[in-house]
Symmetry: none
Subunit: 224 residues, 2 copies
Amino acid sequence: MSKVLVVDDEPQIVRALGIHLRARGWEVVTAGDGTEALAVADASAPDVVVLDLGLPDLDGVDVITRLRARSAVPILVLSGRSDSADKVDALDAGADDYVTKPFGMDELLARLRVMLRRSTPVEAGDAVEFGRVRVDLAATRVTVDGSEVRLTPTEWHLLEVLVRHPGRLMSQSRLLTEVWGPGYETAHGNLRLYMAQLRRKLEADPARPVHFRNEPGMGYRFEP
Amino acid sequence: MSKVLVVDDEPQIVRALGIHLRARGWEVVTAGDGTEALAVADASAPDVVVLDLGLPDLDGVDVITRLRARSAVPILVLSGRSDSADKVDALDAGADDYVTKPFGMDELLARLRVMLRRSTPVEAGDAVEFGRVRVDLAATRVTVDGSEVRLTPTEWHLLEVLVRHPGRLMSQSRLLTEVWGPGYETAHGNLRLYMAQLRRKLEADPARPVHFRNEPGMGYRFEP
DNA sequence: CGGGTTCCTGACAACTTCCTGACGCGTCCG
DNA sequence: CGGACGCGTCAGGAAGTTGTCAGGAACCCG
């Protein structure tokens, strides 16, 4: 049985979600604001989080960032406005998907199932191989053609974030917040620099990257 | 069996629609004005709503807004006046499609089937396929015949908005505000440009689009 | 304290994307 | 029949991004 944490400040929404989710066999824990959400997430380790962006105490994006700092739990965002700006911000901060209110219950349940099925993209402890590179996540070790390559801490952190989401586009802001922490969303120059170093150390032809690709204006993508 | 709510102030239209719909296996509930419509919608939770804009008590757009505040039920608008302004307003308020009176019964039934199909099975989780195109919303990736197609940020935003509302007629102002943000409601030239680029990249014959169709004066519609 | 490593900042050229305006074509309506 | 309107298309310049380099500050460790 999977556990879901529902965070919303409107009690009727929490109640309605709880009823439907329990009817489908989920175990449900709830929170009414951001502070409570963080506490409950720590205490009960949910498998997935449903988070309303419009909370009374904390900014929704803030909550996402702090959840991300602790675990890789999938986050589904409920967005009140159909305005796209806050959705983009949420995704950048680390949310995995979003649904705009008003939403159909079936749609939400379907998305939750998908997220759960896809959760933990790459487990810690696994090793990822691509080209002539082998990344051992458990041992914190990288080898190219069998010989070890030394990475600085920042390089390693960046590589880890990318490798844990194979094939997925990661926006600059998301990479920055995950590697450097909240507050560095604008240090683009930094990201460019370390991406270049990763490519220099891991790509066969750093000028023509195959595994660490950039999509102009959108972000970077790791391709195994 | 699916349930449809028919809202119209002319009894003969309600009766005629009821007969045809029941003959096709629909369960039908009715309302004669806006207030009743809202009450019946709450009480019987229809799968789709057919709504005449010219109601005696409430403005049609008002009814749509209030329905939308409660659920994501698809709304098909019946417009009596050939004036197109109110139709656009209805779409902006959240209607999914419209039919102009006098209408053919076959056309209305066909539209209803489309709306129902889009709402029940839900988008297939995080990937949408149509023709030879596959849109992976989670990975932010588009492929045609298996080979990747690169989209610019604006192209991707536009595609995402369209794809998340399959079969639905999206007004130009809505597309503009969702993709470019509030304040760009009049930048129609922009929308035409990027719609053309999407078609060039995704349609088999960009000059004769099948999946990204335009309805003159209204907006654009994505058909899977 | 010194040597080596790591991290950050600022600059530049090459590139991509975005916007604007103009033109042609078809439809609709007077 | 002519004009207005909306739509699709094209091209050019403005604006923003990215890869890259070099230099200096901060850090760690012996």
